[in-house]
Amino acid sequence: MHSLDSYLFISSMLFCLGVFGVMTRRNAIAVLMGVELILNAANINFVAFSKFNGMNLDGHIFGLFVIVLAAAEAAVALAIIINIYNNLNSINVDDAAELRQ
């Protein structure tokens, strides 16, 4: 079986990719996808710690909750993006800077 470290390595890679995506992408949809990656990195951590530290299925249940919440979050975020598009005719996050001083 693989050790905990390899799971953590994958999840931290995934997290870094997600952060990178969120920080560098200008497309709002891409940013949203980066956020999904970060959430899933956390999911992997939950499940990995649950498995290797003998915590029964607690981590799995948390992972399921995160997936559900991510789905809800995606729905809200997409609705916001559609609204931004309707108003600004673009989904570039840099254009949505109305509150800048």
Binding site: V19, V22, M23, T24, V31, V93, D94, A96, A97, E98, L99, R100, Q101
Partner: protein, 683 residues
Amino acid sequence: MDNMMITLPLLILFLPLVSFIILIFFGKKLPRQGDWVAVGSIVATFFFALYLFIQMILEYDPGVSHGASFSWIDLEAFKIDLGILVDNLTVIMLLIVTLVSSCTHIFSLKYMEGDIRYSRYFAYLGLFTFSMNGIVLADNLISMYMSWELVGVSSYLLIGHWFEKDSAADASKKAFLTNRVGDIGFFIGIMLLYTAVGSFAFDPIFDSIAGGDTITGLTLTLAGLGIFMGAVGKSSQFPLHIWLPDAMEGPTPVSALMHAATMVAAGVYMSVRLFPIFTPDALLIIAYTGGITAILAALIAITQNDIKKVLAYSTVSQLGYMILAVGTGVYTAAFFHLLTHAMFKANLFYCSGSVIHSMHHALHKVHDEKTDPQDMRNMGGFKEKMPVTYWSMLISTLAIAGVPLFSGFLSKDAILAGTLAFAQHHPEHFLLPLFGFGAAAITAFYMFRLIFMTFHGKPSMKDIFKDIHESPKEMTGPIVLLGTLSFFIFYTLPYFNPISDHGWFTDLVVPQTSAVPGSMTANEIAEHAHHAHYLAMGLSIAVATIGILLAFLMYVKNVISPKKLSDRFGFLYDWSLNKFYFDENYNRFLYQPFLKLSETVSWLDWDFYDKYFINGFGRITNLLSKLSGKFDYDGIDQGLVDGLGRISGVAGENLRKIQTGRLQNYLLYVVAGILVIIIIQAF
């Protein structure tokens, strides 16, 4: 019965005050300007006083005395009780005050008709009557002193009733200030007695003095003289007599009420009331003060031409008589003279008021504004035109001149007998009876000079003579009443002897021996006076006859020409005409130096102290404030407070640049922050 003797005097005391309060606030709104309130209340008090008087006559007991008091201030160590004392003296005095006051009110209805301050005039009369009754009813020095001052105030207000005239305004100030001089002495006397005895009430003071261990000798003499100074001021005695003749600037009824019959008698009343505290030394000074006043004022009255001035000086002279009587120990005679004098002198003033009123109208008809309606040289021959006034005035003049069958004779005789008896036992004081008899002769002379110049002879101003007329009933009423009261019979009942003062008065007011140990007893004094009685009577009739005869020869028969006499004794005449230059000398030796002193003090205060000391302080403070202001504004405000603001401003200016509005920038800061935290955690 006992209750009645307290309630009625209280009513008599406070009714005029109520009238004053009503009139001063609502006088102008009431119908007839509220004169009926004043007249009604004062006539009511007269009837109350009359009731008390009748009760006194019915009881016929010289020892009657009722009193009531309450504690006004009680601080354990310091205690003042106020109260009233009602004995025969009080009842007689109350009757005098309310009777003359009633007459004055009724007389004023016509005399003051159409006056611009009609209601206020009656209000002040009420205030005066209240305060005068306060003096009469006082059973202690404090309430007497308070009423004393109130009387001074009402006198000030009434003398200055026509304050548009400068002379009236000045006269009122002069009266008030001259009275103040006496009142200071009065107050010092009260305090001397209080510190020694520890009480303000009369009885404890008398008892304590009689005990002879609290206050004796020089202190007691000084206390008595201090208190007597109050009487000197109020009763217009030498050397403070200067205010009374000027006080004639007030309306004539006021002169009759206050400056002839009642207020100026307050000093005599007080001396009589407090007679037991005077030491023989003090009494001697009192006697000389009275004697000098009597003769001096009489000498001045000879040459005055203003009808009211003559009466004013005669008042001063008669008050001198009363004080002389107090000084020689026959103080009940002084009070008796106060009683008779109040009646005939008030009447003389009403009569003069009636004459002036008539003159005024006559002059007004011919549009003569320049002629003085009070100058006797413009009168003459009014006898037929004003018979009621003439006869009444003649009767009162006979009374004041001391002619038998009239009231003045009885009281004057009692005083002169007392004075003569005093001199017989103290021959070194022979001047006192000389003053007395001299003043009696002169009084007879100048009073008949007044009568002859006003009512006899030929009219000196023919154009106004036809308009001279008798005064209306409101004015002749009091004149007839008081004229009648100048006959002897009202004072000697139940006896009918016209040459002896023995009557209800001497039965009811019995002299008490002075409380000062070692004084002559009242019996001794009475005994001595009794021995001197017939001699004094003969002498007083003789001097009165001489005076009247002289006036008759000079002003009716013209045998002796007054003009030639005055030319012959030029400087004496000038002295008398100019009132012995009292006012001028006071001005030169008292007022002017005092004004100079005031100016010096004012220079010290204003030009020196204020300018250098006070202003210096101001300047230093100003400088300090400027320094501290500079520190506060430039240092704290500009540096510290504004600096903090400026720092925040600059910081904000720079920090706002972080706020880019780019989502990913913010995220970058978050990640960087987390990294920093992780790195810190790692170590």
